[in-house]
């Protein structure tokens, strides 16, 4: 029943695992570079890397990419509300300065 959908293969799963590992290694690596940590790129690059890991697991392991579009809505709706609440709260408590890269 239902139409056969494109589905991740085992090689996809292994590749994702490797990507996740590599990004984690990169994250920890830059943590130990004091000059990079002190720069304004540190926080944004960490946020981007963890966002990529997040999205990769959700799309491929939770197969959101391959499933019915309904699940995308069920997930991204709450995610958007959650993100705006987080940003709103951080702003209200003075933790977000307007320059890029600062998380007080």
């Amino acid at each position: 029943m239902g139409i056969e959908k494109e589905h991740p293969t085992w090689s996809t799963y292994w590749k994702v695992a490797v990507i996740l590992t590599l990004i984690t290694v990169a994250e920890v690596w830059i943590y130990y570079i004091p000059s990079f940590v002190a720069s304004r790129l540190f926080v944004p690059s960490l946020l981007i890397m963890s966002a990529v890991k997040f999205v990769t697991v959700v799309l491929f392991y939770m197969h959101l990419r391959y499933d019915h579009k309904l699940f995308r809505v069920l997930f991204t709706g709450p995610l958007i509300i959650a993100m705006t609440t987080l940003i709103g709260l951080l702003f209200l408590f003075g933790k977000l300065s307007l320059t890029v890269g600062a998380l007080n």
Binding site: M1, G2, K69, L70, V73, G77, P78, I81, A82, L92
Partner: protein, 663 residues
């Protein structure tokens, strides 16, 4: 109009699918019975909350009142708010969700019938737990919003707040479980031909409310966890001396609290959107806009929370942003008001009791909305906040809005639930006394509020210009009480003596009116095929739906439009694709046949006591925490572990037992 002349001789004796007796109610997983349980319990707590209000008004009738001490007064207004919000209005909405949603979408039950029962028992036991505190004289006394640090151990060392915190956590579980249930039900169990834009307005409003619940309750859960941990385990979340922020509680609470008020009003809006078209003999005006407005209200509702905090000093940017978003949210709300009025315009109006309540909602909610728009301006709110002006506002929207809508819904759907009509004569008395009483109680509060009368004061000195308004409010309360008595009399009397209703006493347009009153256990002997958003009118009064869409694409079974694209997967419409079946099936009326589910080979879920036991275990587990504060640590541990074991055991048994007999 009651179709007694044409209805078959069906006088409902034993309703709800046959089984009677206490055990059948304790083990029920039938959404209709669960809805009935919610209705009775919630009405009971509505009366409890009303008594609490009456005592408040008695105390405030004259300056220097001696009816209640300050401490008793604090408990009274705290419990009045908590009871009305969590134990009355929300469960009344839940009663309608439970009873109506499957009937309106053409389903035989909700997606998870046992989880549904669990939600009810958790609510009941949680309500009992919280109200138990009255018997030891330590009812919650920190306001329904429980601001920390006032509610931390330092300033509230006794058990009052413990009961409140634990009680709310319990009630949150009930609401969340029900929300997952209804989301799944509405997405997945609609009858053929019922795409999302053919769902009844009540179901749409209910659907949006479930998302509000699912997203808002976790936030208050965490706020409560922090308070619980501070009180029971000595954490520092709200300890100012440790550097905690006095605003953390307020922000977390209101991130929940604002969506919560939309949770309180949207079901009543949904009921109104069913009643007004029925008694105007016209489809709702601007259905798509109503749907989008509801979604917009919900979405924006997450962006306005700090308008409850205009006086705390958030700074110009914070104040302005939230002021603007609050003004914005008035727009979709106002759109709904206009659409209800335009529905009535040119319609053939019947002023039944439910129609009176629905129209009253439109008028009274508008008044409440006007004061709401006034609060939206931060500088204006600096005068209004914490005064009776706010009390006036929220009672207009909660009583004039939610309760009027709910009463209207009760008059409208009582016949469906019981097979008998409520008395219109008694209903008229109920309505007018309530309408007059409500306005007399709450309108004067606009004045006393603007004249500076603060909230939450247990008494006041004479000579400040507040006496007349308070006296009027108390008289209004007496009138409200009399009106409510008419309602109770009407409600109980009509179970046995009301006129027989038949399937469709009102000549309404949606699916629930196509089956008998009360419906059989299985709701629909044959799942109907829906042809537009008013399938009954399509069949019985097609002239009314001439301008409602009847598109072919709307007839496709799989109709979930996501992201603007038509989703293509799943089952083809088994009925629509087969011309023979289409001829046989389709939209039809089902009169009471007396046939059971078994005779019709319809598999129904088996009743089970496990949800009740699981709920009881959970409440026992939570309540064990209280013993920590009575100095009985071993007892606390034993109770918590014992409760947890009961809960986990019954949960495993529940999950490993199939829902129905194998078929």
């Amino acid at each position: 109009m009651a179709t007694t002349a044409t209805a078959p001789a069906y006088a409902p004796t034993e309703s709800y699918g046959g089984e009677s007796g206490l055990w059948s109610w304790l083990t029920t997983v039938d959404h209709k019975r669960i809805g009935t349980l919610y209705l009775f319990t919630a009405l009971f707590f509505f009366l409890v909350g009303g008594v609490e209000a009456a005592l408040i008004r008695w105390q405030l009738m004259y300056p220097n009142g001696k009816i209640l001490s300050a401490e008793a007064y604090n408990q009274m207004f705290t419990m009045h708010g908590t009871t009305m919000i969590f134990l009355a209005v929300m469960p009344l909405s839940a009663a309608f969700f439970n009873y109506l949603i499957p009937l309106q979408i053409g389903a035989r039950d909700v997606a998870f019938p046992r989880l549904n029962a669990f939600s009810y028992w958790v609510y009941l036991f949680g309500a009992m737990f919280m109200n138990f505190s009255w018997f030891i004289g330590e009812a919650p006394n920190g306001g329904w919003f429980g601001y920390a640090p006032l509610t931390t151990m330092q300033f509230s060392p006794n058990l009052n707040i413990d009961f409140w915190v634990i009680g709310l956590q319990i009630l949150g579980v009930s609401s969340l479980a029900a929300a997952f249930n209804f989301i799944t039900t509405i997405i997945n169990m609609r009858a053929p031909g019922m795409n999302l834009m053919r769902m009844p307005m009540f179901t749409w409003n209910a659907f949006v409310v479930q998302f509000l619940l699912v997203l808002a309750f976790p936030v208050i859960t965490i706020a409560l966890v922090f308070l619980q941990f501070d009180r029971f385990f000595g954490t520092q979340f709200y300890e100012i001396a440790a550097g905690a922020d006095p605003l953390l509680w307020q922000h977390l609470f209101w991130v929940f609290g604002h969506p919560e008020v939309y949770i309180l009003i949207l079901p009543a809006f949904g009921l109104t959107s069913e009643i007004i078209p029925a008694f105007s003999r016209k489809p709702i005006f601007g259905y798509p806009v109503m749907v989008y407005a509801t979604m917009l209200i919900a979405f924006l509702g997450f962006g306005v929370w700090a308008h409850h905090m205009f006086a705390v000093g958030m700074g110009a940017i914070g104040d302005t942003v939230f002021g603007v978003t609050t003004l914005l949210i008035a727009i979709p709300t106002g759109v709904k008001i206009f659409n209800w009025i335009f529905t009535m315009w040119g319609g053939s109006i019947k002023f039944t009791t439910s129609m009176k309540f629905a129209i009253a909602l439109v008028a009274l909610f508008t008044i409440g909305g006007i004061s709401g728009v006034m609060h939206a301006s931060p500088p204006a709110d600096l005068q209004q906040t914490d005064t009776y002006f706010i009390v006036a506002h929220f009672h207009y929207v909660l009583f004039g809005g939610s309760m009027m809508g709910i009463f209207g819904g009760i008059y409208f759907y009582f016949p469906k639930m019981t097979g008998r009509l409520l008395s219109e004569k008694l209903g008229s008395w109920h309505f007018w006394l309530t309408f007059v009483g409500m306005n007399l109680t709450f309108f004067p509060m606009h004045f006393s509020g603007l004249m500076g009368m603060p909230r939450r004061i247990y008494t006041y000195e004479a000579g400040q210009g507040w006496e007349l308004f308070n006296l009027m409010s108390t008289y209004g309360t007496v009138i409200l009480m009399i009106g409510t008595e008419f309602f109770i009399w009407n409600f109980f009397r009509s179970f046995k003596k009301g006129a027989i209703a038949g399937n469709d006493p009102w000549g309404a347009g949606t699916l629930e009116w196509s089956i008998s009153s009360p419906p059989p256990e299985y709701n629909f002997a044959r799942i109907p095929r829906v042809t537009s958003r008013y399938p009954m009118w399509d069949m019985k009064s097609p002239a009314l739906t001439a301008e409602v869409p009847h598109t072919v694409s709307g007839d496709k079974r799989l109709d979930v439009d996501v992201g603007g694209k038509h989703a293509a997967n799943g089952h083809p419409n088994p009925i629509g694709n087969d011309p023979k079946q289409a001829a046989e099936s389709g939209m039809h009326i089902e009169h009471a046949s007396g046939k059971t589910a078994k005779e019709l080979h319809i598999p129904m879920p088996n009743p089970t006591i496990k949800p009740l036991i699981c709920a009881a275990g959970m409440i026992i587990m939570f309540s064990g925490l209280i013993f920590i504060h009575t100095g009985k640590l071993p007892l606390a541990l034993a109770t918590m572990i014992g409760g947890a074991l009961i809960m986990v055991n019954s949960l495993y048994a529940w999950l490993l037992t199939p829902l129905e007999d194998a078929h």
